[in-house]
């Protein structure tokens, strides 16, 4: 077999067995997955969120006038004559929670809510349900249905980014459009520097443990460097492919389970291709630079210090990114 290919195969096999490589490859998808799961768990703490299930909420109306519109989205409101009666129903699990509208509600707006659950804040559906119930009753007979609906949901803001010629820009921005490239630029830098860093480390180690002389007695320096660059590059490519695959999967998961600002989160196919091209080109550049630095340094440590000049220059665009945002 061609000697370059032999070195490529050896370097690839050794790298993908390295603990640091495995750790880094699985760390990113794992952390993202844990973050999503954590978000879901916290979301779960804020109250029941099973779709389709109607939450029964009791209420005691001391203010008077809150009798209609008891069917709200996902919520059914049940009137109770007194707080004692509502507490009894709550303990008997007839209702999920209850709230009290005091006599001076109109002037203070204070509504006390009672529940058996520990929660960070009331679930969105409960909050919206009670709010909608109160608005509907307050404005009953005073405004028409359309106005009531607008009071409940005053605006649905649709932002459109225009380009310099006044046309609608192809990239509409937004948090989702920003976060994916941002995270990926960090990951790309990490992948490129891990893989090319392995070259630096490998050459340093081979010089330190004196394998270099044995290798050079069998292969030419060109074969050695080419084999290393391509072997470690192949390992890096596997890493970035795993990340890209995980990113697509995790983006879907995040957008459907977390929602909100991440509801439009997606990793488009052209983005994946560009990431791969960037990795390959970026890696080749830095791998060769690191191979050069590794050849100059006598030990891994010395090479590491030398390589800082190149690492810093590569990080420079990152520091300047805020200027163009």
């Amino acid at each position: 077999m061609n000697k370059t290919l032999l070195i490529l195969r050896h370097e690839f096999a050794q790298t993908i067995r390295r603990k640091s490589f495995i750790l880094m490859t699985v760390a990113f998808p794992l952390i993202a997955l844990l973050a999503i799961l954590a978000f879901q768990t916290i979301g779960g703490l804020t109250g029941p969120s099973e779709p389709g299930k109607i939450i029964e909420i009791g209420y005691v109306d001391y203010s008077g006038g809150f009798v209609d519109y008891t069917q709200q989205d996902g919520v059914e409101l049940i009137s109770h004559p007194s707080e004692e009666d509502a507490t009894e129903a709550l303990l008997a699990d007839d209702i999920n929670q209850y709230f009290v509208i005091p006599v001076d509600y109109l002037s203070t707006g204070i509504v006390s809510r009672y529940t058996l659950d520990r929660e960070l804040e009331p679930p969105d559906i409960v909050w919206q349900g009670i709010k909608s119930f109160l608005i509907s009753n307050l404005l009953d007979q005073q405004a028409d249905a359309e106005v009531v609906e607008r009071v409940k949901y005053p605006l649905s803001l649709a932002s459109i980014t225009l380009d310099e010629s006044g046309n609608i820009a192809p990239q509409q921005g937004g948090f989702s459009a920003f976060i994916v490239p941002y995270i990926f630029s960090i990951l790309l830098v990490m992948a490129i520097f891990t893989s090319s860093g392995f070259i630096l480390q490998g050459l340093g180690e081979e010089k330190e443990n004196r394998v270099m002389e044995i290798l050079l007695s069998s292969v030419s320096p060109r074969q050695l460097i080419t084999g290393k660059v391509l072997g470690l590059g192949a390992a890096g490519l596997i890493q970035i492919l795993i990340w890209l695959f995980a990113a697509r999967f995790l983006a879907d998961m995040a957008s459907s389970s977390i929602g909100g600002i991440l509801s439009n989160l997606q990793v488009p196919a052209d983005f994946l291709i560009i990431s791969l091209v960037y990795f390959i080109l970026g890696y080749l550049l830095f791998a060769v630079v690191m191979a050069g630095v590794g050849s100059i340094g006598a030990t891994a440590r010395e090479s590491q210090q030398l390589s800082m000049i190149f690492t810093l220059s590569a990080m420079l665009p990152f520091f300047l990114v805020s200027l163009i945002m």
């Binding site: 077999m1 000697k3 032999l6 070195i7 050896h10 050794q14 330190e208 443990n209 004196r210 394998v211 002389e213 044995i214 290798l215 050079l216 007695s217 069998s218 292969v219 030419s220 074969q223």
Partner: protein, 302 residues
């Protein structure tokens, strides 16, 4: 030794190498034939390792030529050489088996399982075949490196300080294997600064000092040339006046008698016997390589 018509295994002609304007190898020439053990000897810093690195194409000579098996040094000729560098080292995370497989494949001659087993058994390391290099003792690691040097059955074997840090048992084991290789017609270069260590091994030597070749030729011829015409005697009793002996030197366990040009060792022996002394040991002294080196170095300095 040399097969008629075949080129020398290695032919080194007038190689020169300078670092920072200092010549570390200065116009050195020698050749190595198949079936011989060639000693490349000299003190530390004499230029031995640089010479070897030039043969291995790791360092390029400033001038001169190197031919291996009649051809200019090339990637292909590297496959026919086995090299044990002075500074030992292997991949610590690889197992013994993986090390031998990988290093032999880099010589374009991947070792068969049978070959690896055979070599490991030879040095009694077969039970350790799956151990990582970092789990082995230093001596064991050195044996593995020696095996990696010869696993691809090279025509030329270059061993730089092969016995350094080895215990006497392993030293003997490696010497045995070296002799076997000579019998198989391989050419072996032994480089060492411990000159006396290789005296009994080498057929021919090149002695270098300060980058220059100071002695080159058959070990027996060199020793004959530098013989100082003396005999070593270990005796009991008194030794009186001896004709033709101009100096006596008392050493540990024996006396060295220096003879003048007209006196032969046999004549001295018969005189001693006539005086009635009982002889335990009588030997025509030959200088050690160390002595020869000191003598040559002193001559060169003058």
């Amino acid at each position: 030794m040399k097969d008629a018509g075949l080129p020398p295994t290695a032919e080194i002609s007038n190689i020169v190498k300078s670092y920072d304007h200092k010549k570390v190898v200065d116009d050195v020439s020698f050749s190595i034939e198949s079936g011989e053990i060639f000693g490349l000897i000299g003190p530390n810093g004499a230029g031995k390792t640089t010479t070897i690195r030039m043969i291995m194409d790791i360092v390029l000579p400033d001038s001169g030529s190197i031919r291996i098996l009649g051809e200019k040094i090339s990637p292909d000729s590297k496959n026919k050489i086995g090299y044990l560098p002075e500074e030992r080292g292997l991949y610590k995370k690889l197992s013994v088996w993986q090390t031998l497989t990988y290093l032999s494949s880099l010589k374009n001659k991947p070792a068969s399982n049978k070959r690896i087993e055979e070599l490991l058994r030879r040095v009694d390391l077969l039970p350790h075949k799956d151990k990582k290099i970092e789990e082995l003792s230093r001596g064991m690691g050195q044996l593995i490196q020696f095996l990696a040097t010869i696993i691809h059955d090279p025509q030329l074997v270059i061993l730089d300080e092969p016995f350094a840090n080895l215990d006497p048992v392993n030293t003997e084991l490696i010497k045995e294997i070296i002799f076997e290789m000579r019998k198989q017609g391989k050419a072996i270069i032994l480089s060492t600064h411990r000159m006396n260590e290789v005296e009994k091994l080498c057929d021919r030597i090149l002695m270098i000092d300060n980058g220059r070749s100071v002695l080159y030729g058959k070990l027996t011829d060199i020793k004959k040339k530098y013989r100082n015409n003396s005999v070593m005697v270990d005796y009991e009793g008194e030794l009186g006046e001896l004709e033709g002996v101009w100096r006596r030197r008392q050493d540990e366990g024996h006396t060295e008698l220096f003879l003048d040009d007209k006196t032969s060792p046999q004549k001295v022996l018969s005189q001693i016997l006539e005086q009635g002394a009982s002889i335990n040991h009588f030997e025509v002294s030959t200088p050690t390589l160390n002595d020869i080196f000191l003598q040559v170095a002193a001559e060169n300095d003058e």
